[in-house]
């Protein structure tokens, strides 16, 4: 059995860990609120742009096809976090990315990863996956218009030059602070939306200046909006996962402290009993000697 002193030291250490996890939980909760708000605000733009891109491409489908002789390569952008301590968030994400890669290989398209966030990069490096680039240390915020533009530029360039024939992004979809689901979203080529079965005509637009000139611009805006959306979802998910993980850690610490306190009290009582026995035993011995 551990000594009283050792148990006391242990309790103090667990308590300070608990303080840290509690603080991290509060910070994550505050950031989550902000991230959720940003996600909500960006939704109308993303939805409207996807709709416009969709309807424009329906009236000019040839303008958004992959470059001629494009390599059968799919760029898979994996949006992970830079830091850990967020439960199974990154592990689930990377597992989803890997199963997507397997599916792509089966479909005769070579997957190449692009890591956003240190956790994805570390993983892909460790297992020697084909890496096509990375953006790590996205502090203090992951979901910025700047990073979304940067990624859209990279994708756009590879798409134009024919280095890739498809692009997808793996990110965690934020459903609630305790539930995040990794998803794979195909960005390019844009799948034509399902037409009404009765063959209703596609909306006919007056396009200025011309579809050929406008499509690259819309494509660019579409990529930017889609990347920003993925980053925002990922950011909210990360903080949700972190908050949940830190909440669990704080609870575990509380449980551990109460168990250790019990153990400490038992040890103290045992020591008192032992000391009493010694005194009584000593007194008895003295009385025996005097008699």
């Amino acid at each position: 059995m551990a000594t009283l002193k050792a148990i006391r030291r242990r309790i103090a250490s667990v308590k300070s860990t608990q303080q840290i996890t509690r603080a991290m939980k509060l910070v994550a909760a505050a950031r989550l609120r902000r991230a959720q708000e940003a996600l909500l605000n960006a939704r109308p733009y993303h939805e409207a742009l996807t709709r416009v891109a969709d309807s424009l491409l329906a009236s000019a489908p040839e303008a958004a096809a992959p470059a001629e002789n494009a390599a059968p390569v799919t760029l898979v952008i994996v949006v992970s976090s830079d830091r850990g301590l967020c439960g199974g968030y990154n592990a689930n994400l990377i597992r989803a990315a890997e199963s997507e890669a397997q599916r792509l290989r089966a479909a005769q398209s070579e997957p190449r990863f692009f890591a956003v966030g240190r956790k994805a990069l570390d993983h892909f490096r460790r297992y020697h996956y084909p890496l096509d680039g990375e953006r790590i240390n996205n502090v203090p915020r992951l979901a910025t218009v700047g990073l979304a533009r940067d990624l859209a530029t990279i994708i756009g360039e590879r798409w134009r030059t024919g280095a890739i024939s498809a692009v997808g992004v793996v990110y965690s979809q934020f459903r609630s602070p305790i539930s995040q689901r990794p998803v794979f979203e195909k960005l390019l080529p844009i799948a034509p939306s399902a037409r009404p079965a009765d063959g209703a005509p596609v909306t006919d637009y007056l396009i200025e200046p011309s579809a050929a000139e406008l499509v690259p611009r819309i494509l660019r805006s579409y990529l930017e909006a889609a990347m920003l959306h993925a980053l925002l979802e990922a950011e909210a998910s990360e903080y949700g996962a972190k908050m949940t993980a830190m909440d669990a850690a704080t609870n575990n610490a509380a449980e551990m402290i109460s168990r250790l306190t019990l153990e400490m009290n038992r040890a103290r009582q045992a020591q008192i009993t032992k000391e009493l026995m010694d005194i009584v035993g000593g007194a008895e011995a003295l009385r025996g000697a005097a008699a």
Partner: protein, 140 residues
């Protein structure tokens, strides 16, 4: 009173303006254009400049757009702006040095450089902000 139509101005940071308007005037790829109720279905790109909205009560609102896309579909207009600022938030004095910087950067680039289009866009953006008082349609 002229007929109104539903209008929405959205940017990545949220819905900037939503409601019925009588007329919208903005700068498109082929120059300034106006939209009234029952406009034909239409898509164009938006160039850096002002959008002026005439509301049902006859008053006007203006925003500075840094680019984007405008769509009219089934009588409703949606403007997707990469950035939209209310006029009061624009500081022409702060934009003046940005114009110079952007001009200097652009003068050292060739048309085929990878960042050329972005630099050109930045210059047009800064110019629009610096000349905001001049651009406003309400002042005239």
């Amino acid at each position: 009173m002229a007929e109104t139509f539903p209008f929405r101005l959205v940017s990545p940071t949220g819905i900037i303006y939503e409601g019925p308007i009588e007329q919208a005037t903005a700068v498109g790829a082929l120059g300034e254009f106006g939209v009234l109720a029952e406009h034909v279905n239409f898509i164009t790109s938006i160039e850096p400049g002002l959008i002026t909205l005439k509301l049902a009560d006859g008053s006007f609102i203006e925003y500075l757009l840094s680019g984007g896309i405008a769509e009219v579909k089934d009588g409703a207009m949606t403007v997707l702006a990469t950035e939209a600022l209310p006029l009061a938030a624009v500081d022409p004095a702060a934009a003046a040095p940005e114009v110079q910087q952007a001009e200097a950067r652009l003068s050292q680039m060739s048309f085929y450089d990878p960042g050329y289009q972005e630099a050109e866009q930045a210059l047009r953006n800064a110019r629009a902000r610096a000349e905001i008082a001049h651009l406003s349609r309400l002042a005239h």
